[in-house]
């Protein structure tokens, strides 16, 4: 079953064709990978799907529904969560707080905030969940540190942790393991695989094929805003076009 589909999706920045008629299909319970050289339009694709950029033309279909150009918060509501290529910490908030905001809280209204008894239970659950995720990511010792004090790699982990706090249908990740130590990167990808088996679908942009390739089910290769190849991982790395523009002849 196709969860997410883009149909002839284009995004132009003035004259620049960042996306130029992109068609991708993401099957349910799979990890789909997007690769391509710097500036090939991968992040732009994520930004258009998640509502951060308006499409110039074409459509984004999620579970059969046209979600093109819906605002990001509505897209989240439908069950899509995305992470950012450059980690986006809530700088003055602690690591724990950065995770706690991932889910809508029953106590986050002016009036509901006043009635502590109404939201304490939810808060407790969220705190427990957040700690489990922080432990998994091996950053639980940093939980009450303000996030602007973290290293680049640690911030990347917070970015992933935040996405793991939610229970979406589709998780879109922009270079999740860039800058993450190899052992932990494998742990994270195994965790994503577990989630996949439980029904979550993934669309991931990543350059580190050496680590990620064995976890993915399907690959799209992009260049200059277009999809230049698609297929299983082992086929894609042998594809001459992909070797030419992305992997290099020596690969």
């Amino acid at each position: 079953m196709i969860v997410l589909e883009t149909q002839n999706l284009s995004k132009f920045f003035d004259g620049l064709r960042a996306l130029d008629g992109v068609n991708v299909k993401v099957k349910k319970k799979t990890i789909t990978l997007i690769i391509g050289p710097n500036g090939s339009g991968k992040s732009t694709l994520i930004n258009v799907i998640s509502g951060f950029y308006k499409a110039t033309s074409g459509r984004v279909i999620f579970e059969g529904e046209d979600i093109t150009n819906k605002p990001p918060y509505e897209i989240y509501e439908l069950g899509i969560v995305r992470t950012f290529q450059t980690p986006q910490p809530l700088k003055k908030l602690t690591v724990l707080e950065n995770l706690l905001i991932a889910e809508r809280h029953v106590g986050e209204g002016v009036l509901s905030a006043l009635r502590h008894s109404k939201w304490l239970k939810h808060e407790e659950e969220l705190v427990e969940k957040a700690f489990k995720i922080l432990e998994f990511l091996k950053i639980d010792h940093l939980w009450d540190r303000e996030s602007y004090k973290l290293s680049g790699g640690q911030l990347k982990l917070v970015e992933i942790g935040r996405a793991l706090m939610t229970n979406p249908k589709l998780i879109i990740m922009d270079e999740p393991i860039a800058g993450v130590a190899p052992a932990l990167a494998h742990d994270i990808l195994s965790r994503l695989t577990e989630l996949k088996e439980r029904g979550v679908t993934f669309l991931i942009v990543e350059h580190r094929l050496d680590i990620i390739l064995k976890y993915v089910d399907y690959v799209y290769a992009m260049a200059n805003g277009k999809v230049i190849a698609e297929g299983l991982g082992e086929e894609i790395v042998k594809n001459p076009k992909v070797i030419e523009v992305y992997l290099g002849a020596t690969h």
Partner: protein, 344 residues
């Protein structure tokens, strides 16, 4: 006796500034909305008291004519009424406050509506411009609160001896400020406060995680403006008049610039800091005001004494920004019960 009037003056401004600065702290300190039109909501409170409530009372008491003469008639009648039965005064007081809260909230929400999408600097300028426009309309249109002539506000506490009227009002302002502090502290020490700080720190993340940022800003402005409008009403109970020329002359300095100064001094995003900031500000203000002629002549300053406060507070603002940008009591993470347990 002079010392007592100095102290009551300090307490008066302390109370009013606690209310306005705390409301601005929710908007700016927590949610990151640079509300350069803060004065608007205080003025709205004054207009609710001097304009709207006067109109309502005129209708209720069958007083005809324009608002300028009508307000004097209404004030006279209410004073007599309240003297005979204090309960009327207390009920009316609550009506004024609640109405100001509601109208202030509505105006605050509408106020930010055209600009809620804008980025910080544009938002600040737009809010300032709208507030200034409203101030001018109040000043030039006699139908609202009597333009140049102003209107009277009834003495709802006429049943209290005139000799302690002033102290009573100050007491009421302090109690209101305390209630505002308690309620706001409870509101922000919660997932709601965390949400606001999230919006302040990174709009995109909050959008990606399902928050309608524009909506959150509008609601926050409603909350902040409603509370600031209460201060506007309380101020009219003290002056017993509403003078739109004072909006023009003092509005933006007293109710926008000084609250920002207080927040930066005390600590943005920290209500305790803001209370401390208000106390320091009110004390300094009154002391300088009290001694300014002596200061100017003793130091042979080349300025008119009336400008001394403004110069001093302008300099103070710069010093804080340079040397203590976090304020006296910096912002702290929100620690709810479950988080507190993790800490121990």
């Amino acid at each position: 006796m002079e010392i007592w009037s100095l102290i009551t003056n300090i307490l008066l401004w302390f109370g009013l500034y606690v209310i306005v600065s705390l409301s601005l702290n929710v908007e700016y300190g927590y949610c990151g909305i640079p509300n350069f039109g803060k004065a608007l909501s205080v003025i709205v409170g004054a207009v609710v008291a001097g304009g709207l409530m006067t109109r309502i009372l005129m209708v209720a008491m069958g007083v005809h004519g324009d608002i300028i003469t009508g307000s004097s008639a209404v004030s006279g009648e209410v004073t007599t009424l309240v003297k005979s039965n204090p309960l009327y005064g207390i009920v009316l007081f609550l009506v004024y406050i609640i109405l100001a809260l509601i109208i202030g909230a509505v105006v605050g929400a509408v106020f930010i509506l055209p600009s809620a999408r804008l980025k910080e600097d544009y938002l600040a300028i737009t809010l300032l411009a709208i507030a200034e426009t409203f101030t001018m309309v109040c000043y030039y249109n006699p139908v609202i609160v009597g333009s140049y002539y102003g209107v009277s506000v009834p003495n709802l506490f006429a049943f209290i001896p005139a000799s302690v009227r002033y102290q009573t009002i100050v007491g009421i302002i302090l109690i209101t400020a305390f209630v505002v502090y308690i309620v706001l502290e409870r509101i922000v020490e919660s997932p709601y406060g965390r949400l606001l700080r999230g919006v302040r720190e990174n709009e995109d993340v909050m959008k990606a995680y399902g928050r309608n940022v524009m909506n959150i800003r509008i609601k926050t402005m409603a909350l902040g403006s409603g509370i600031a409008a209460i201060a506007g009403v309380l101020l009219t109970f003290y002056t017993l008049r509403v003078q739109p020329d004072s909006f023009m002359n003092y509005g933006r300095t007293f109710w926008t610039f000084f609250p920002f100064l207080i927040i930066l001094l005390g600590g943005a995003g920290n209500n305790r800091g803001v209370v401390l900031g208000s106390l320091i500000f009110a004390t300094l203000w009154e002391l300088v005001d009290f001694y300014k002629d002596n200061i100017v002549s003793a130091l042979h300053l080349p300025v008119e004494a009336v400008w001394l406060e403004y110069i001093l507070f302008g300099v103070l603002m710069l010093l804080i920004l340079f040397y203590k940008p976090e304020g006296l009591i910096p912002e702290k993470p929100i620690v709810t019960e479950p988080i507190k347990r993790k800490k121990s």
